[in-house]
């Protein structure tokens, strides 16, 4: 009975809004009720959960205030400091918010797959929301298996930060465009202490160094995670092996132990002692948000930004990068889904809202319309990321039903690889594919084909 009841609830949440409308109800034509129709047009208060705190929450709340001004019947109660674990727990307990904002895309496969966030398709069709205003990778990180249970709101885009003063001292005039140029420049920029330890690192290639992670570097090599059927292809896509060989060669130049010791004494990434901000690292892969940190913490830093250098064999990829972002969804437990959708539509598609959020939080707005908004404040360093964002080769990581398991299995292999504990790279990568497939098979066991 319990299982039957649970399935019924999940099914109701998944199938559509005629079933899951709650008090929102639906109109006679079968399409979901509009916010004006829902709750007989009475004013309601909806709850909005996000991970924002202090200043950033203030920025978000000011946009929520704008929303209420435009929708007087919908008041929004904003709760910050929420992570995905709390969202999952609340949905399980039946007391989730009306709108949830998730900072990471790891959970989306589960939110969508399990019907924990409702399918937004009926609303999108009813309101004729143009999804083509979202660049392809943004569409990719906000849906799962073709099911749109989320909308994006702001993206993080990754590129290369370089210290202009250190470049001048080393006689380098422009940022590297290929990985071999990156290696050459990194060597020129590196300075060692008399005892041989690293004083200034040109470019730290260790996976695990700040934002230098496999996923962020993958677009530079055109490395793909899965084939069209969703099967893991780390061992067969040549991009990964090329990326890893380039990376290991640079790690070996520095010495893995030296890099580990350098990392151990480097400042915390999210503080003013960040090694790039303090000139201990000359080039670094990082997100657009770093521009805001630098202007606040080290306005004196003379730096530039550029797309990540790309594989020598694929110069056409230059200009691309990695993108990921926030997602907004309506938990199935929401009692005001029509009003919740209004808020999601506003936050994800209203150019004014996105521009205001972008200007305040220094994240990339997620629609092409807002990118062109003249009100968008972008200094030259930030503009680089807006360009990377719209590059056709810019990509993201696929959303899976196993959360971050595929990435973490790969990450463990990469730790072994960079420390020199992997003897055969290709075999090792194929083995990771098998591990990921086994985890996927376990997650889908007993499912109808």
């Amino acid at each position: 009975m319990r299982t039957l009841l649970g399935s019924t609830v999940a099914l109701a949440a998944t199938v559509g809004l005629t079933a899951c409308g709650g008090s929102s109800g639906s109109n006679s034509s079968g399409s979901p009720a509009s916010a004006a129709q829902a709750d007989n047009g009475k004013p309601v208060t909806i709850t909005f959960w996000s991970g924002y705190t202090s200043r950033e929450k203030g920025v978000f709340d000011s946009v929520l205030k704008d929303f209420t001004a435009a929708h007087p019947n919908i008041k929004v109660k904003s709760v910050g400091g929420i992570n995905d674990d709390k969202i999952v727990q609340a949905i399980r307990g039946g007391n989730g918010p009306d709108v949830a904002l998730s900072f990471q895309t790891d959970y989306l496969g589960n939110y969508c797959g399990a019907g924990a966030w409702i399918d937004l398709k009926p609303y999108i069709e009813r309101d004729k929301v143009d999804l083509s205003q979202l660049p392809a990778p943004v569409r990719a990180f906000s849906e799962f298996n073709g099911k749109r249970c989320a909308m994006p709101a702001l993206a993080d885009v990754y590129g290369l930060y370089y210290n202009k003063k250190l470049f001048r001292q080393a006689g380098i005039t422009s940022p590297p465009k290929t990985t071999s140029e990156l290696t050459a420049d990194a060597k020129k920029l590196t300075q060692r202490n008399p005892d041989g330890s690293l004083k200034v690192v040109g470019f730290n290639p260790t996976f695990g160094w700040y934002e230098m992670v496999h996923a962020h570097a993958a677009p530079s090599f055109g490395a793909k995670w899965t084939d069209a059927s969703g099967k893991s292809i780390l061992g067969t896509d040549p991009g990964w092996a090329r990326m890893l060989r380039w990376q290991k060669a640079l790690v070996d130049y520095y010495g893995f132990d030296n890099l580990q010791r350098f990392k151990a004494r480097a400042g915390d990434e999210w503080t003013a002692s960040n090694a790039f901000e303090t000139g201990k690292v000359a080039m670094n892969i990082d997100g657009e948000y770093r521009t805001a940190f630098i202007s606040k913490e080290h306005p004196e830093l003379d730096y530039g930004t550029a797309p990540m250098p790309v594989d020598d064999a694929h110069p056409e990829l230059y200009g691309s990068g990695y993108v990921v972002g926030n997602t907004l969804g309506i938990p199935r437990t929401s009692k005001h889904q029509a009003q919740a959708w209004e808020l999601i539509r506003y936050l994800s598609t209203d150019p004014g809202a996105l521009t205001k959020l972008s200007n305040g939080l220094k994240n990339v707005p997620t629609t092409t319309t807002s990118l062109a908004d003249p009100a968008l404040k972008a200094n030259p360093q930030f503009k680089t990321f807006l360009k990377i964002f719209t590059n056709p080769n810019t990509s993201t990581t696929p959303i899976t039903i196993i959360g971050a398991a595929n990435q973490e299995l790969f990450q463990t292999f990469l730790q072994k690889w960079q420390s020199g504990h992997v003897t055969n790279l290709e075999d090792g990568l194929k083995n990771v594919d098998k591990e990921i497939e086994a985890q996927m098979a376990n997650a889908t066991a007993g499912q109808a084909p």
């Binding site: 990471q104 589960n110 797959g113 376990n442 066991a445």
Partner: protein, 328 residues
């Protein structure tokens, strides 16, 4: 036989039954807090976990029956089970004996102190009061490969210290050092037992010419053997459940090893060397939404803990001596 004569024993039986029922109800009533607590917090979760272990359960939709697929995956598919079991066994095999020996040795030294027993006892016990998370953070600072005091001091003598929590070979020994630092609880129990060793036995052994080793081997150790058994049992069970320190150490030392979703959880860092069995269980259940499989892992852990406990208790019959009881 008259009707009255027939009715009397029947009344008696009925009254007895009533009294019996009342007594049973009273017993049940008195026991009910425990029964409810046991049922709600142990019995039900155990039975439900056993059920979940045969399902795929993503926490958000209803469990889906998949038979023994989780157990198959554990035995044949999951690449992390092997390292997790090996790491856990390593911690038990190395840390538990060292903790017992160290706690016992400190207790013996403290027991011999002529003055300031209270001060020594407090000093050695204090670390045990530190919450595990705080203690681990403290050790991460002490053992930082570049800026930590330990490697700095080693550097004065021209020794390049290891990478500690950043090295797959040193991460578990670092956890053992942390475990040894916090043996205060066990030490206090040993101290109580050592102080309790009958003086007349020690004195008569000494009169018979037994040296310190023989007195230790044949008098002290047999007298405190129940405490040794207790320390070993608790240590092994704690080892099987070893989680907090490994979780904190790997998350903090590996910080920055973010995955693409910008989550900074790096369980098992470095190279799965701190991936203990309970950490794997947590990772599967709460990070990979695989609660059914996590339940299967927990059932196996429960079985292992039960078997190990029974085995230790059986083996202990030959070594443990209870004062006042016949040796069995």
């Amino acid at each position: 036989m008259s009707a009255a004569a027939l009715a009397l024993p029947r009344r008696n039986t009925a009254a007895r039954r009533r009294a019996q029922r009342r007594r049973r109800l009273l017993i049940l009533g008195l026991m009910s807090p425990w029964i409810v607590g046991f049922g709600v917090f142990f019995g039900y979760p155990l039975v439900y976990s056993a059920y979940l272990s045969f399902t795929h359960y993503d926490l958000l939709s209803s469990p889906r029956w998949i038979g023994t697929a989780n157990y198959d995956f554990m035995l044949h598919g999951d690449p992390n089970v092997g390292p997790a079991v090996r790491n856990t066994l390593w911690i038990i095999a190395v840390m538990v004996p060292l903790q017992v020996i160290l706690a016992c040795s400190i207790a013996m030294l403290v027991a011999r102190a002529r003055r300031g027993v209270g001060i020594y006892r407090t000093l050695f016990y204090l670390p045990a009061l530190t919450p595990p998370v705080a203690a681990t953070l403290g050790f991460l600072f002490l053992l930082n490969p570049s800026t930590g005091p330990v490697n700095t001091i080693l550097g004065w003598f021209g020794i390049t210290g290891p990478l500690w929590f950043d090295s797959p070979s040193w991460s578990k020994p670092s956890l053992v050092l942390l475990g040894l630092w916090g043996v205060g609880n066990t030490m206090v129990i040993f101290l109580a037992a050592i102080v309790d060793v009958p003086r007349h036995l020690l004195e008569s052994a000494e009169l018979d010419g037994a040296g310190w080793w023989r007195r230790l081997r044949w008098v002290t150790l047999p007298s405190i053997s129940p405490v040794i058994l207790f320390a070993v049992l608790v240590g092994v069970i704690d080892g099987l459940q070893y989680f907090t320190q490994a979780y904190v150490a790997s998350s903090i030392a590996g910080a920055g090893t973010a995955n693409a979703g910008d989550s900074t959880v790096t369980l098992g860092y470095p190279e799965n060397s701190t991936l203990m069995y309970p950490v794997l269980l947590y990772q599967q259940g709460f990070r990979y939404f695989n609660m059914g499989y996590a339940a299967a892992l927990s059932i196996v852990l429960f079985g292992a803990a039960l078997i190990v406990t029974i085995a230790i208790l059986r083996a202990a019959r030959r070594f443990v001596h209870y004062q006042g009881a016949a040796r069995t």
